[in-house]
């Protein structure tokens, strides 16, 4: 139960921070995503994001900073296994599932659904 509280609070806090960035700065959602993934990779490399992920589980891994964390950790563990080559293979290998799913389901949605007029 405590785990779920941590997941909710940390995940919620990362999203609330994003809302502050959107409202207070001129950052568009696309820029928020870029900032979050880059910040996640940097914090992960500095050893700061790992403890957060162990503390809050999905609260830290579902937000896009967690995607950056997975990319960085993938690169690091691949370098440990295969040397410099791992710097190029590790990141994508660790995140391949999410990326392939987004490409595939995005394509499938375009195939199956009719684009709707934006009603706002």
């Amino acid at each position: 139960m405590l785990t779920y509280l941590k997941v909710f609070l940390v995940g919620g806090a990362l999203c609330a921070l994003g809302e502050v960035l959107i409202l207070k700065t001129k950052l568009t959602p696309a820029r928020i995503l870029v900032v979050y993934i880059t910040a996640g990779a940097a914090l992960s490399a500095l050893g700061l994001y790992g403890p957060l992920a162990r503390f809050a589980f999905a609260g830290a891994t579902v937000p896009l900073t967690g995607f950056g964390h997975a990319l960085a950790q993938g690169a690091i563990s691949a370098v440990q296994e295969t040397g410099l080559l791992g710097a190029f293979t590790g990141g994508l290998a660790a995140t391949a599932g999410g990326i392939a799913a987004a490409v595939f389901f995005g394509f499938l949605a375009a195939l199956l659904f009719r684009p709707r007029p934006k009603d706002f």
Binding site: G12, L33, A75, L108
Partner: protein, 153 residues
Amino acid sequence: MQQSGKKQALIREYAQLVRRLTPKSQLGLGCLRAFWVGGAICLLGQWIAEAAQRWLSLPLSAAQTAASITLVFLTALLTGIGVFDRIARYAGAGTVVPITGFANAMVSPAMEFKPEGWVLGTGARLFTIAGPVLVYGIASSVIVGILYYFIRW
């Protein structure tokens, strides 16, 4: 003179009305919405990951990947039937920051630009926003890997 006094009073009254009817703080309200919806999405991800660990006996990292894929699938489905946009308009960053935002940024233009063709419409526009995200994400991971190779902290 009388006329202008009346006008002044009317303007004051209107200003009071505006103050009374605007939400106390746009920022506070937006943060609250982003907080609870974003937190709920993470909670959903946690439940999926735990279910994958328990029922499919996957190790933690594979279970997290399974959770990501499931969230991406749900986002694509909800975007397709037009529900995601409504949730996103309410939640703001609450749906943008989790992996649902990344997925929606691919699915939405892929559908919207279908009339421009399967190759340069759907195929290219899938990456309008996801492209930059992947460029900076992948470049960061390569830099981290190279630095790690030479420094090994």
